[in-house]
């Protein structure tokens, strides 16, 4: 589409990149159809095409963000379904990243929003703080209803609702160090432990370590790694995100130099999308650009990596699995077949819920910041999943697990937990009734 940036504006590499993205959009409107917020709200301003236009108007006019624009940008889940749909190849992800940074730099949010965002940014990326907060949240859970009735405190009530009823103690899977291959060694990977996942569901990485080491893969948890930066990145807090990115790039660069890595294995697809983008996020940093690109190239979702290991085909089990593809998996990383093929090979009957392209409403901190839209999407997702009448739900992202688990009685597990079970591991908790 037509753009009217001045040469001076285009001297800013971020603006230049956004201009190139905008020029690819031909305004065909296909993206509206698969956008969860457009489908829910029916307003083009809450669609990718509408947001692209709002962003273009804001950036072209060099204007500070304002309430009208922020409202609609904030409603974007960053599910990236539009990037799967878009025939023109519009890089919506980096355009909305730029818009979020611009908002963070030029718009002063109301006090309540600032408070909530500051709390999220200060707690979620840090496992020790998050674990503490979870303990407090369990004590506070009875207050959730009351808090939700007070407009100023409503968001905190929503947070209490989302906190799981019980939390696991700190898991050994997060301890830095090497886990040697238990069979003949055929590979070596680093495993991201990340931030929220080991607090909420340490079993996921425990299963990953068990499965990989059994398959002859040495697994290293690199000392010093941590949150990938996605949570703050999606809030437009770019400096904070880049601090996380640089730290992880340094840590994994050491691991690469010290014995090589076949992959950096990630078990939360939301993190995977961001780590695969480190090369882009740090492209303007001469000290990091090259290292970051190398790390991004090695980043693999655990199913993507497992698909390279030629796992044996197992006898069919009498267990049906509804596979929920996380947005960061299918749209962010375009991984669509590997998880399902692995589950099928492991003997599970895999069912595809209808409207599989639509987000479940989790989307990082979205279920906290936009609870109404998130709840509508959750209900729609759960209805489609339950219609499959599957025994178990499998997915590859902790956010979806937390979100969907609060809406259905069907047990939901990470794909790798089922694979670990099928290939000789213990049966995961919560599905003891199944054979």
């Amino acid at each position: 589409m037509q753009t009217t940036f001045t040469a001076a504006q285009l001297a800013d590499p971020h603006v230049a990149e956004s201009e190139a993205i905008l020029r690819k959009c031909v305004h065909c409107g296909f993206c509206t159809a698969t956008c969860p917020t457009y489908v829910t709200l029916g307003n083009e301003l809450d669609s990718p095409r509408g947001r692209i236009y709002l962003i273009k108007d804001m950036l072209e006019n060099g204007r500070a963000a304002d309430e009208e624009v922020v409202t609609h940008i904030d409603r974007c889940l960053s599910c990236l379904a539009c990037t799967t749909t878009c025939p023109s190849g519009v890089d919506y992800m980096h355009l909305i990243d730029h818009a979020r940074i611009h908002i963070e730099e030029t718009y002063r949010r109301p006090l309540k929003d600032r408070l909530v965002r500051a709390v999220l940014a200060a707690v979620l990326p840090y496992p020790s703080r998050f674990r503490l907060a979870m303990r407090a949240a369990r004590l506070g859970k009875p207050l959730a209803g009351a808090l939700k009735r007070i407009p100023f405190l409503k968001t905190f009530g929503v947070m209490l609702d989302l906190a799981p009823p019980s939390a696991a103690p700190a898991s050994d899977s997060t301890r830095p160090g090497k886990r040697p291959a238990k069979t003949e060694k055929r590979g070596r990977v680093a495993l991201l432990t990340g931030c929220a996942q080991p607090v909420l569901k340490p079993g996921i990485n425990e299963a990953t370590i068990r499965l990989l080491t059994r398959l002859g893969i040495e697994v290293e948890v690199s000392a010093g790694e941590g949150c990938c930066g996605a949570l703050v990145h999606h809030m437009g807090r770019e400096e904070q995100a880049l601090v996380s990115a640089r730290r992880n790039v340094d840590v994994w660069t050491r691991a690469i130099d010290d014995g090589g890595l076949d992959a950096i294995v990630i078990t939360a697809s939301g993190c995977g999308t961001t780590i695969k983008d480190y090369g882009h996020m740090l492209r303007l940093d001469p000290l990091y650009a090259e290292k970051a690109a190398r790390v991004s190239a090695l980043a693999k979702d655990v199913t993507e990596y497992l698909a390279t290991l030629d796992l044996p085909r197992l006898e069919p089990k009498r267990v049906s699995v509804a596979y929920h593809s996380a947005c960061s998996m299918q749209h962010g990383q375009k991984i669509t077949m590997a998880p399902k093929l692995l589950l099928k090979a492991a003997g599970f009957t895999v069912r595809d819920p209808a409207e599989g392209h639509l987000c479940c409403g989790s989307a990082g901190t979205y279920n906290i910041l936009q609870p109404e839209i998130s709840a509508t999407l959750k209900a729609r997702k759960v209805k489609n999943i339950e219609a499959t009448k599957a025994d178990i739900i499998a997915t590859g992202n902790i956010g979806c697990i937390t979100q969907i688990a609060t809406g259905t009685a069907i047990p939901i597990l990470h794909t790798v937990e089922l694979l670990d079970w099928a290939y000789g591991g213990e049966k995961p908790e919560g599905i003891s009734a199944l054979s």
Binding site: V26, A33, V39, N43, Y53, P87, G89
Partner: protein, 479 residues
């Protein structure tokens, strides 16, 4: 250089009362159903015909037919122009507002109301997408036949406005052949029902009149459409040729022989490259032109029809024939074809022509089109419904270069005139909109247009409904 196409000058009486109008509209609509902030109005300034843009006065997003009626009643009382909008995917600018207009967006009217297999009909709200209808009945073995390439996003309301076609219309007909009834809100808020659940209804065929009336006779809020049972099987087959002329003459002979496949789609080399880049469908890259011919029915029926088509293609120098081997491959072949326009955005901006020509003229018009575009120093990609003779030259240009844009527009005008002169018409399925309005006198005599405008005035005496479109501004009846 052609002049930019003019919209009607905005009414000062409307612009001056903007704040009052916005306040009144907000009284007529639920919360969250009116866009009136200046920032929020900008994204509604155009549709998929992006060369033209006007920020509207306000955008109403009603949730019910009654709300549509209330807005129209209000707008007609105060002589405020109204522009209906479905998904805003029009390639002729049918949904582009004017600065004194209230846009009525039907996007919140997105429910499927009734599926009646006994009568093979579906009744849906106007904002339901074309594809949603087929998806809703697919598991039961049915589909809604007209399939515009934008079917993923475009709405049934917009399809009715433009009498949309699509690849599979060769066999099943276009929107008007599959539309059984509508709920229509007239300019003054009166709600009427036209048609019903049968192919013919008593009385004047007003339904036929409304289908393709580009939002000028009223606003459709509900539609009853025909459902068709899915065929036993369907198989797209790729036929590659070393020249566009050979492919064009092959199409003419297939249809001339009396064979009607479900679809015959044409792509030239630039279009093949564009579509392959997006869909990775495995189109042959060593040909100058490609036909996607889809046959359907039982295996025996498909084999028999294919044998006849292959024999014809052989007489026209076909160099590659490939049948799709799986449902997945067939889906990719169609995904590539249906994404052609959007995928063009990967290499250039474009305007998409929509002329229709007699099949005997297909090769001639293709050649002349290439000459016209080359003379203007531009490139063209051709991807279209060959079986219907409905051509879609995509003129590639750079929208940031005003001279390039003017040349593209001029080339487009020449191509459309060429289609008319070859015995065809300006629009096969995209509608006249704003894009082809000033070419209407090349197609019709003034007396023909006068008669059409008399009918139009019977529905909208004060010309408030999408008034800048379809009919040239000169020669209109005095207001």
């Amino acid at each position: 250089m052609p002049d930019k196409i003019a919209f009607l000058p905005p009414k000062k009486s409307v612009l001056d009362r903007r704040d009052i109008i916005v306040a009144d509209l907000s009284d007529l609509l639920p919360k969250g159903c009116l866009v009136s902030e200046p920032r929020g109005l900008v994204p509604f300034e155009t549709d998929a015909f992006i060369a033209y843009r006007n920020v509207p006065l306000a955008v109403a997003l009603p949730e019910t037919t009654a709300q549509v009626a209330a807005i129209l009643k209000y707008c007609s009382r105060y002589d405020i122009p109204v522009v209906p909008r479905g998904a805003g995917t029009s390639l002729s600018g049918g949904a582009i507002p004017q600065s004194d207009a209230v846009v009525i967006g039907l996007s919140k009217l997105s429910r499927i109301l009734d599926v009646d297999y006994a009568n093979r009909t579906a009744t849906v709200q106007a904002g339901v997408t074309n594809l949603n209808i087929s998806e809703a009945v697919s598991a039961d073995g049915y589909f809604y036949a007209p399939d515009p390439s934008s079917q993923l996003a475009c709405t049934i309301g917009g399809n009715i406005g433009m009498n949309s076609g699509g690849a599979h219309c060769l066999k099943y007909g276009v929107t008007t052949n599959n539309l059984l009834g509508v709920k229509l809100v007239l300019f003054d808020g009166t709600i009427i029902d036209l048609g019903g659940k049968a192919l013919d209804a008593p009385g004047l065929d007003l339904l036929g009149l409304v289908c393709g009336s580009e939002g000028q006779l009223g606003i459709v809020t509900e539609a009853t459409v025909r459902l068709i049972a899915k065929p036993e099987g369907a198989r797209p087959v790729l036929f590659g040729f070393q020249s566009s002329e050979e492919a064009g003459s092959c199409v003419a002979e297939i249809i001339g022989t009396g064979i009607i496949p479900v679809a015959i789609e044409f792509m030239d080399k630039p279009a093949i490259e564009i579509c392959e880049a997006f869909a990775h469908a495995g189109y042959p890259m060593d040909v100058e032109a490609l036909l996607i011919v889809e046959v359907e029915g039982s295996e025996a029926e498909m084999d028999a029809m294919l044998a006849s088509i292959i024999a014809i293609a052989g007489r026209h120098g076909v160099s590659t024939i490939r049948e799709s081997q799986s449902a997945n491959e067939a889906a990719l072949i169609w995904k590539g074809r249906k994404s052609a326009f959007g995928a063009t955005g990967r290499i250039a901006d474009y305007i998409c022509m929509d002329g229709t020509v007699p099949l005997s003229q297909l090769s001639y018009v293709l050649r002349k089109t290439g000459e016209i575009v080359a003379r203007h120093g531009l490139r063209v990609a051709n991807v279209f419904h060959a079986g219907d003779g409905n051509m879609h030259p995509l003129i590639l240009y750079n929208i940031n270069d005003p001279e390039d844009a003017a040349r593209a527009e001029e080339a487009g005008n020449e191509i459309l005139k060429l289609c008319v002169d070859a015995g065809g018409c300006l629009t096969g399925e995209h509608g006249v909109g704003i894009e082809k309005r000033d070419l209407m006198l090349h197609q019709f005599a003034q007396v023909d247009l006068d008669q059409q405008m008399t009918v139009r005035a019977a529905f909208d005496p004060h010309w408030i409904m999408n008034p800048s479109k379809v009919f040239p501004l000169e020669g209109r009846p005095a207001a």
